[in-house]
Amino acid sequence: MIDRQIKDEIEEFLFTEAEVLDDRKLKAWLLMLTDDIEYVIPTRVSRDRDSDISQFSEESYHMFDDIHSLTARVARLGTEFAWSDNPAPRTRRYVTNVRLIQASEKGASVKSNLLLYWSIDESQHLISGERHDNFRRENGGWKLSKRTVLLDHVVLPTPNLATFL
């Protein structure tokens, strides 16, 4: 019963987060993160199906950020000279298949699927992946404290990752 409620709350969080990011309110997004957020996107290689080595690297990343580096990225994108973000990209995040893995009154870990449609200038891209998120209750509300994005790409289809997944 408690789980059901937590799942609803987290789902609400994820949908709001998607809206905030799609609406390019990046400073508001930073407020949805805990001060000790760990934000990680490992690189991926294709491997023999039966290999016991993970396709996801434990050493190399597309992003490996904390609140400070995320804040710096947001500050950079906020300058007049962030050419990768201009003209304004059109993004739409589809967050689905939300699964509650573990939950308590204080924290929750959740998996979800993300499909990001990203169009800038004349080009369109899709980025797909699974997110493993940890949430913590702070002052009555939820905040994201850890995110690992497991991409369904070996070669990124986009010219850059000037966005957040």
Partner: protein, 468 residues
């Protein structure tokens, strides 16, 4: 030639179209050849036709004349440390297996089954004793020998196994951990190909007595830009940082000495260094900075086998970028992911893989001194990713402008008027850069980075391959 004068496009356009009208059958091919021929004159004036950045015929000729005939970087030895380790790499549209054979020797095989062409490599990397073709089950060892043919006595009695081994690259050589191949057996040795540029390359690869190692897997991403944009930029486009990377300076992620405007007396450009070039930004004389590596590493650097002059340069260094012709670039730099945190240094190899006219796949490897602490390596990779990678605060912006060049390069009007790009900085009457006579290293070296001889070096090498 009138078609290479800047600002005189109408003339050049009509000259070009006259020439083309003589070719009734194969206009497309002629267009590529015309671009190459005209560039022999235009490059002397520092002018490059924009269409070479996005042209079918130029792309096809590049694959044949450049990528089949020069030493092409494939991998770093630390990516395949053990017997049987392999990575899959490519040159243009051809896939290769780079594998450490049973004797520990690195071999490069075309990833094509000799029977009927199915691919053998399962995945981007792994470890194996045998490559088994899924189609009819032929097997090959890591040396490339054909070792098994199902139903051989009933079906393939006369087949000489030794004639049907994998196609192996004729030349595979390593230099200080960098594995290159050349598909032309007649080429000079890799050492001679790198030539005088080794003096600069050694500073990066020989800095640490234990050598450099790759962290994890390379970044790979698709960019709608021509491979030459990456090569010419990293050859030493020191002029772009203050504009394109202004956001970085604005929020304090990089210092002015690393990414500010060029023209400081500490900056130099090394051109025509055996066909390769590099741009170097330094601190004031006497500074011991080593790109921003931590002090405990400075001690180990002093034990490396660099010459006195090389070490002196390394000590003062803030940023080196460079391009080894054709498509391997390097950057050695310090940076941070947070203006409040100290900088960390790393070395990055990047490769611009041609994937079609005006299209490339960018690859980037982070390297660090082997003897650095685990914590430092992790920090260096984080900082590398935050600056130079698909998500890199620097690199995000680079690829965007390169895509613009490729977009313009396919334009019929640009072709019609013979639109040329300006690489004239540093030529007679253009800048204050002067050739240095007292410089300690090889190459034709300028006392300022406000010159584009570094990029003309790249195009001279390009032309040399394209006209032969």
């Amino acid at each position: 030639m009138s078609n290479v004068k800047p600002g005189n496009y109408t003339d050049s356009g009509s000259e070009r179209s006259t020439t083309i009208s003589h070719a009734e059958n194969n206009t497309q091919q002629l267009k590529g050849e015309v671009l190459i021929t005209s560039m022999q004159d235009s490059l002397k004036l520092g002018l490059v036709p924009i269409n070479i950045y996005n042209d079918e015929e130029i792309y096809r000729l590049e694959l044949e004349r450049i990528f089949l005939r020069n030493w092409i970087f494939l991998a770093h030895e630390s990516e395949i440390p053990n017997v049987g380790d392999y990575v899959q790499r490519s040159i243009g549209q051809d896939s290769f297996i780079v594998v450490r054979d049973s004797q520990g020797k690195i071999r490069v095989h075309l990833d094509v089954c000799r029977h009927r062409g199915a691919r053998l490599c399962v995945g981007d990397r792994g470890n194996t004793e045998v490559f088994r073709c899924p189609y009819h089950g032929w097997t090959y060892d890591t040396d490339g020998n054909l070792t098994g043919v199902p139903n051989r006595t009933q079906a393939y009695q006369g087949l000489k196994l030794d004639e049907w081994g994998l196609v192996s690259a004729p030349r595979v050589e390593s230099y200080r951990g960098l594995v290159f191949t050349c598909l032309d057996p007649e080429i000079m040795s890799l050492e001679d190909y790198l030539g005088d540029f080794r003096w600069y390359l050694d500073i990066h690869l020989g800095l640490s007595p234990e050598g450099m190692e790759v962290i994890g897997d390379p970044h790979r991403w698709n960019v709608n830009a021509d491979w030459k944009s990456g090569s010419d930029n990293f050859a030493g486009d020191s002029y772009h940082t203050q504009s394109l990377h202004r956001s970085i300076l604005e929020i304090g992620l990089a210092s002015k000495s690393a990414a500010g405007s060029g023209g400081s007396p500490n900056d130099i450009h090394v051109t025509e260094c055996s066909g390769h070039s590099t741009s170097i930004r330094r601190n004031d004389p006497g500074s011991v900075f080593y790109w921003g590596y931590p002090e405990e590493l400075h001690m180990t650097f002093s034990k490396s086998d660099l010459s006195f002059e090389q070490r002196e340069l390394a000590e003062r260094s803030v940023v080196h970028t460079g391009t080894i012709f054709p498509n391997l670039s390097l950057i050695h730099i310090g940076g941070t992911d947070d203006p409040a945190k100290p900088i960390a240094a790393w070395f990055s190899l990047r490769q611009w893989q041609p994937r079609g006219p005006g299209k490339m796949e960018a690859w980037s490897w982070t390297l660090v001194p082997k003897e650095a602490s685990k914590e430092y390596k992790q920090r260096a990779h984080r900082v590398a990713v935050a600056n130079f990678s698909p998500s890199g605060n620097f690199e995000q912006d680079d690829v965007v402008v390169w895509a613009g060049v490729a977009r313009a390069g396919r334009g019929a009007y640009a072709s019609h008027i013979g639109l040329h790009l300006n690489f004239q900085m540093g030529m007679e009457g253009m800048s204050q850069a002067r050739q240095m006579t007292d410089w300690v290293g090889p190459g034709v070296v300028y006392d300022s980075n406000l010159e584009e001889g570094v990029q003309r070096t790249f195009f001279n090498s390009w032309l040399k391959s394209m006209v032969r």
